[in-house]
């Protein structure tokens, strides 16, 4: 093999090396595919990124709240069945959510677990109910009882809640902490007779294509 051919053969080796130099488009990029979201303990230090309020959080939180309420003396050892009104949950996080769903689930869990020891008043229906009562009072529709008697029940307690959040964002990702707190307030004395909370922290890092 002469010198010229040896030179060309060397080219066979060198040129493919040039071809593939720089193949790695994500060279120098950390975690190019991102990092799968993981659930962290609230007091555990994480490395980034966050996610919002999700259905499994709703289930876990409302289950805990329902179990907690059922056991309080005002419910468990009440001489008369207490009446509770749901007051809208306040969202103080960065995640727009369906707030009603939290209290709805707590209510359904309580109705299921409390076995008649507590009743809820449907204040959302008040306008509709008042209209119906007015129709009965005016005689436009029939009534099985005296429509002039005030039978709408007053609340013994108000059940409400609040979602608070804290967010951290760095080049390593985003971390979100959400504190779910609920309380039962005595309608007569304004005393908070029950309060409980749940906290969830999440973090993650999105794919490099979106950073």
């Amino acid at each position: 093999m002469n010198t010229f051919t040896r030179s060309l053969t060397a080219g066979f080796v060198a040129i493919p090396a040039l071809f593939f130099a720089g193949c790695a488009t994500t060279q120098g990029v950390k975690s190019p595919a991102g990092v799968t979201v993981t659930e962290m303990k609230p007091d555990e230090r994480g490395f980034v990124v966050g996610t919002g309020v999700e259905s499994q959080d709703l289930v876990a939180v409302t289950d805990k709240m329902a179990r907690s309420i059922v056991g309080i003396p005002e419910i468990a050892r009440a001489t008369a069945k207490p009446y509770i009104v749901l007051d809208p949950v306040v969202n103080n996080t960065r995640f727009p959510i369906n707030k009603d769903i939290f209290l709805t689930r707590i209510r359904t869990q309580l109705n299921s677990k409390a076995m008649g020891r507590v009743s809820f008043l449907d204040r959302e229906m008040m306008k509709t109910l008042e209209r119906e009562r007015a129709l009965k009072q005016s005689g436009q529709v029939t009534a099985t009882a005296n429509p002039n008697v005030v039978e709408f029940r007053g609340a013994d307690y108000f059940l409400t809640g609040k979602l608070d959040g804290m967010t951290t964002r760095t080049t390593a990702g985003t971390s979100d902490y959400v504190l779910y707190s609920f309380r039962l307030t005595d309608a007569r004395t304004s005393e908070i007779v029950w309060e409980d909370m749940a906290e969830i922290k999440k973090q993650g890092l999105e794919d490099a294509a979106y950073r």
Binding site: M1, I15, V37, A209
Partner: protein, 425 residues
């Protein structure tokens, strides 16, 4: 069909008819392939990255179903954005909410282990392969619009959540000076807090720092009418650089620099100055991680193209060497082999370079405004009518853009949210 391809096909056809000698056949075939493929690596110019059938030309009929279906999936958020803006401006709140919620369900999450994102990062697929979620200024606007609709529905806390998420998205800027620098997002967050009987002073202070010399109106919780206004035409994305690997933004400064709402036959004038500029926000976002990836692709494309050229030149030289040796009566098979081998390598290099796509993704939410404004006032419940005037840089009214406005202020208990836009769709 290009001229080199025609010539190479002619050569191949001739060899089918005229049995060649061993050495000359491989030589001619190699040269034919070289002619066919040389010059394949080229940059075809900027692309608007629009949906198939629009800026890129008509969609191919033969693969239309599969292509549109896949394009629709990865462009879904883009379609949601555009449709939501149009719906909001034409008074179709339900549709706007549905579209925005669909988009936010994706953009509000953390996208990881995505196959199309992986393809977008690879050498031979463009960035537009990834599912579109938009640049930060686009995602901010999705949350901003959704926040307006939440407030209109009597949910200032959810509106506040949207403004907070939007500000967080803007915190991803390369330069710290431009992180979370929207004036309105902080201001609205604070106002929502005040409406919820919480403390909005920190948010107001942040907003005022961002506003600089412009003095923001103090919060007046009793003002029951909130006016969100927008005007001008938003930024456009272009692909710059040798191979279109650099994402850049161009904003044509709109003649409209401010607006005002004139009510009660001129008795009440509500100024609507510009607090935020989307062109500014787009341009100050800074570098992305994807820019680094696209830069690597561009380097690879350039390198293999250069290496391919070297190999092809080597093939020509080797071929010439072989012929010289044959004329001298010496064995030229080694040189022939080298010529063919280098030719094949050259072809591979040129093909690889041609297939490498470092183009930046220029899909864009193209019906965004340039400037955002906001004001509040107190009005009694009932019907109100007025005139919306747009002003130029000098404060003169742009008469042709003036329009009449009518709205109904709701009974006490819920804020009335009015959305005014210079853009019709």
């Amino acid at each position: 069909m290009s001229e080199p391809v025609r010539r190479s096909m002619k050569l191949c056809y001739m060899h089918l008819l005229i049995p060649p000698t061993h050495a000359s056949f491989w030589r001619q075939l190699g040269l034919a392939a070289l002619l066919a493929c040389s010059g394949c690596a080229s940059y075809e110019g900027a692309s608007s990255g629009g949906a198939p059938g629009t800026a890129l030309g008509p969609a191919k009929v033969s693969s239309a179903d599969r292509k549109v279906a896949s394009a629709a999936a990865r462009d879904r958020v883009l379609f949601d954005y555009r449709a939501a803006a149009t719906a909001l401006r034409t008074g179709k709140d339900a549709e706007a909410k549905a579209r925005l919620d669909d988009a936010i369900a994706l953009i509000g999450g953390i996208i990881t282990n995505s196959e199309d994102a992986k393809r977008a990062r690879s050498l031979f697929s463009g960035e537009s392969e990834k599912t579109f979620i938009g640049e930060p200024y686009e995602r901010v606007m999705a949350y901003y619009y959704r926040g307006i609709l939440y407030w209109r529905d009597g949910e200032p806390d959810n509106a506040r959540a949207c403004f907070r998420s939007a500000q967080l998205i803007d915190s991803d800027s390369e330069n710290a000076q431009y992180k979370a620098d929207y004036v309105l997002l902080d201001y609205l967050e604070g106002l929502a807090s005040v409406k919820l009987e919480a403390d909005g002073s920190d948010s107001y202070q942040r907003a005022q720092e961002r506003a600089g010399s412009r003095v923001l109106p103090p919060y007046t919780p009793t003002n029951n009418v909130l006016i969100f206004a927008e005007y001008g035409y938003g930024p456009r994305k272009i692909a710059a650089g040798q191979y279109g690997e650099q994402l850049r933004f161009v904003t044509e400064d709109s003649p409209t620099h401010a607006a005002r709402l004139v009510l009660d036959n001129g008795q009440k004038i509500v100024p609507l100055p510009a607090f935020d500029d989307l062109g500014y926000q787009a341009a100050t976002r800074g570098g992305r991680v994807m820019d680094h990836i696209l830069g690597n692709k561009a380097v690879f494309k350039s390198n293999v193209d250069a290496a391919g050229n070297v190999a092809l030149v080597g093939a020509v030289i080797a071929n010439d060497q072989a012929r010289r040796r044959e004329r001298q009566g010496r064995d030229g098979d080694d040189a022939n082999l080298a010529a063919v081998g280098l030719g094949i390598l050259g072809l591979i290099g040129k093909a690889a370079s041609a297939a490498t796509t470092p183009n930046a993704d220029t899909r864009q939410w193209d019906n965004l405004p340039q400037r955002l404004s906001f004001a509040t006032l107190a009005l009694p419940p009932g019907e109100h009518a007025g005139t919306l005037q747009f002003l130029d840089r000098s404060g003169n009214v742009l008469e042709r853009r003036t329009r009449t406005v009518t709205f109904t202020v709701q009974e006490a208990g819920r804020d009335t949210v009015i959305f005014l836009s210079e853009l019709k769709y």
